[in-house]
């Protein structure tokens, strides 16, 4: 019996160590980025001594980011593209997910297979011909091009996720509404969607984060600085001879904040959505 208690104690201790290890693994790089963003440039490029806490705390990097590099317009572009992508994907996923969850029909398996295939194709393989198509349509260097690409890139996964959220809601709920004389659309809007609200928000977060974090398509479809999204704009800062690490880190911190806050608040639903969307039992 005593042996057993010791074993349990050791087990808990080991588990605590493992948990501490992973916490440090995640937090240390973030700490380093945040710390760098508050250092003066002289302190950052001091090869003699690397400081683990800024000797002089300065917000200079953030001021420069907004003043010299027009970060405000990058943020605005990113927000416009990501919010509209999120809304559009959510709306289309509600329709598609409902169709997939509540009906069985000919071609359904093919459709699901097609969704799966879209997840396997290298994005760049689609971006190249899309570049040609967008150029013909005059869409290169517009926010619309990014919007279209981000919608199609995030739609399949979100529709599948939405489907499994629908499947969790008992059909009897809707049937009861039909018996009461409710039309299909009305029961969907007034009864099913409110119950699904967490799932809907999770899908919006998926699409928003997907669009917000994307870099490659941004560098290809956009070529003037007034339309740069945050990643594209910040990438242009690396290419220069004199890399301003403080400013870059400040930009990184600002880029992470919206998605990190969203994730922290929606963590439970996002995790639920990830697991239900990816693995169906």
């Amino acid at each position: 019996m005593k042996n057993h208690t010791i074993q349990r104690y050791l087990g808990n201790f080991a588990r605590g160590l493992i948990l501490l290890f992973f916490l440090l693994v995640v937090l240390v790089p973030i700490y380093w980025m945040v710390i760098t963003s508050f250092k003066t440039n002289a302190e950052i490029i001091n090869t003699q001594e690397i400081t683990y806490f800024p000797r002089t705390v300065t917000t200079d990097n953030y001021v420069q980011l907004f003043r010299l590099y027009d970060y405000r317009s990058m943020l605005a572009n990113s927000l416009i593209v990501s919010v509209s992508t999120g809304l559009c994907v959510t709306f289309l996923s509600i329709l598609g997910g409902y169709g997939l969850a509540r009906y069985s029909f000919r071609g359904k398996d093919t459709m699901l297979l097609f969704f799966l295939v879209t997840q396997m194709i290298p994005g760049i393989l689609v971006i190249i011909p899309l570049y040609v198509i967008f150029a013909k349509l005059g869409l290169i260097n517009t926010r619309l091009s990014l919007f279209i690409f981000y919608v199609i890139a995030n739609l399949p996964f979100c529709a599948i996720t939405m489907r499994s959220f629908f499947e969790r809601i008992p059909y009897t709920l809707e049937e009861a509404a039909y018996v009461d004389g409710c039309s299909k659309l009305k029961s969907l809007i007034t009864i099913v969607l409110p119950v699904m609200f967490p799932g809907i928000v999770a899908v919006f977060v998926f699409a928003f984060i997907g669009a917000w974090n994307e870099l490659i398509a941004g560098t290809i479809f956009i070529n003037t600085s007034d339309l740069w999204t945050v990643p594209v704009g910040l990438k242009s800062l690396i290419g220069k001879y004199d890399v301003r690490w403080g400013v870059l880190m400040a930009g990184g911190v600002c880029a992470l904040l919206p998605t990190a806050i969203m994730f922290a608040f929606m963590q439970k639903f996002v995790v639920e959505g990830l697991t239900s969307g990816a693995v169906k039992e």
């Binding site: 588990r15 693994v25 380093w32 329709l95 990190a260």
Partner: protein, 329 residues
């Protein structure tokens, strides 16, 4: 031609919405006066029409295009001279000087990243599988990298592994592990290692989330029975825990392998393939080829090869693991 297709598609989408909503609102009276059962049969298609149309138009159509481009002399720098050239793109591709190096890089990058993410993610999930104080907050913090953009993660690592001002060199020097600063991003081998390190860091949460969910779905009484039967911890892990989470592990590894193979923003940010292609993988090389020399034909040929590789990989993987339910991804 392109514009026409685009507008037609827009109109079709608009019509689809119209039909769906008018039909819903008017109930039995259908817009096209089709019979009730016909309408019911059409319903799922109407719900899925916008999604499918968009995907076919903006995903399927470009994909077919790139398959055609793979067999064409298609250089954006000379748009007047586009013609079919058979297998020349593929021949050119295989005679590129660094192609074997790039293939080897891709292989190492994918295998080490997936293994690292899997082992670490599984460890984290097992540790998280018991209740402890502040677990909610802990999870929110430790899963945070999932929401981070590869771009910022790349910046973070590029800065930390900076040869002159980087913190990694400083720590290693203080611990007396190395005696002089290492130019991580400028040394063959090390540059790819940094990319892999960043990729593992980025992917641990996803593996942990998936495996944790699977662990929590294991019924508790199976464990109780194993205690009564006097089953040892190792045997319990392999015969119960791993047996239960195996389907999840298989699907997660499958999806992640493909995802990691295809994603190259970390490479673009951290090393840009350097030094001299030593951290270049096939997709990042394709990106470089397409948008530095604008040789879309060659890039598409490479893309087609990538797709074939992935299809073969998926088929073989599913055969070996005897898993036949991956259709429900």
């Amino acid at each position: 031609m392109g514009i026409l297709v685009f507008y037609l598609a827009l109109i079709a989408v608009a019509c689809a919405f119209g039909i769906v909503f008018i039909n819903k609102r008017t109930g039995k009276k259908s817009l096209f006066r089709v019979s009730n059962s016909m309408q019911r049969k059409a319903e799922p298609y109407l719900f899925l029409l916008p999604v499918m149309l968009l995907l076919l138009l903006m995903f399927g159509y470009p994909l077919i295009n790139s398959f055609i481009m793979a067999f064409q002399n298609y250089k954006l720098t000379s748009p007047g001279r586009i013609y079919f050239n058979g297998l020349e793109n593929f021949r050119n591709l295989l005679s590129e000087t660094d192609i074997s190096l790039i293939i080897a890089n891709s292989f190492a990058y994918v295998v080490i990243s997936v293994l690292g993410q899997f082992i670490l993610g599984m460890t984290l999930a097992m540790a998280l599988n018991k209740q402890f104080p502040f677990r909610g907050i802990y999870q929110a913090l430790v899963f945070l990298p999932w929401s981070f953009s590869a771009f910022v993660i790349g910046l973070m690592h590029r800065w930390s592994f900076n040869g002159e001002y980087g913190v990694v060199n400083d720590v290693l020097l203080r611990l007396n592990i190395i005696s002089s600063k290492i130019a991580w991003l400028g040394t063959p081998g090390f540059s790819l290692a940094v990319v892999i390190f960043a990729m593992i860091w980025m992917g641990i949460p996803f593996f942990a989330i998936m495996i944790l969910a699977a662990l929590q779905s294991i019924p508790k009484d199976v464990y109780e029975a194993s205690y009564i039967d006097g089953c040892g911890p190792l045997r319990r892990f392999f015969k119960i825990t791993f047996a239960y989470i195996k389907p999840t592990v298989i699907v997660t590894i499958l999806l992640r392998t493909i995802w990691i193979f295809n994603s190259f923003d970390l490479i673009v940010i951290i090393t840009n393939g350097g030094p001299a292609n030593f951290s270049q993988t096939l997709p990042s090389y394709m990106y470089t080829k397409a948008f530095s020399s604008y040789d879309f034909g060659l890039a598409s040929a490479l893309g087609v090869l990538l797709m074939v590789t992935l299809v073969v990989y998926v088929t073989v993987f599913l055969k070996i693991t005897k898993y036949n339910k991956a259709g429900n991804f």
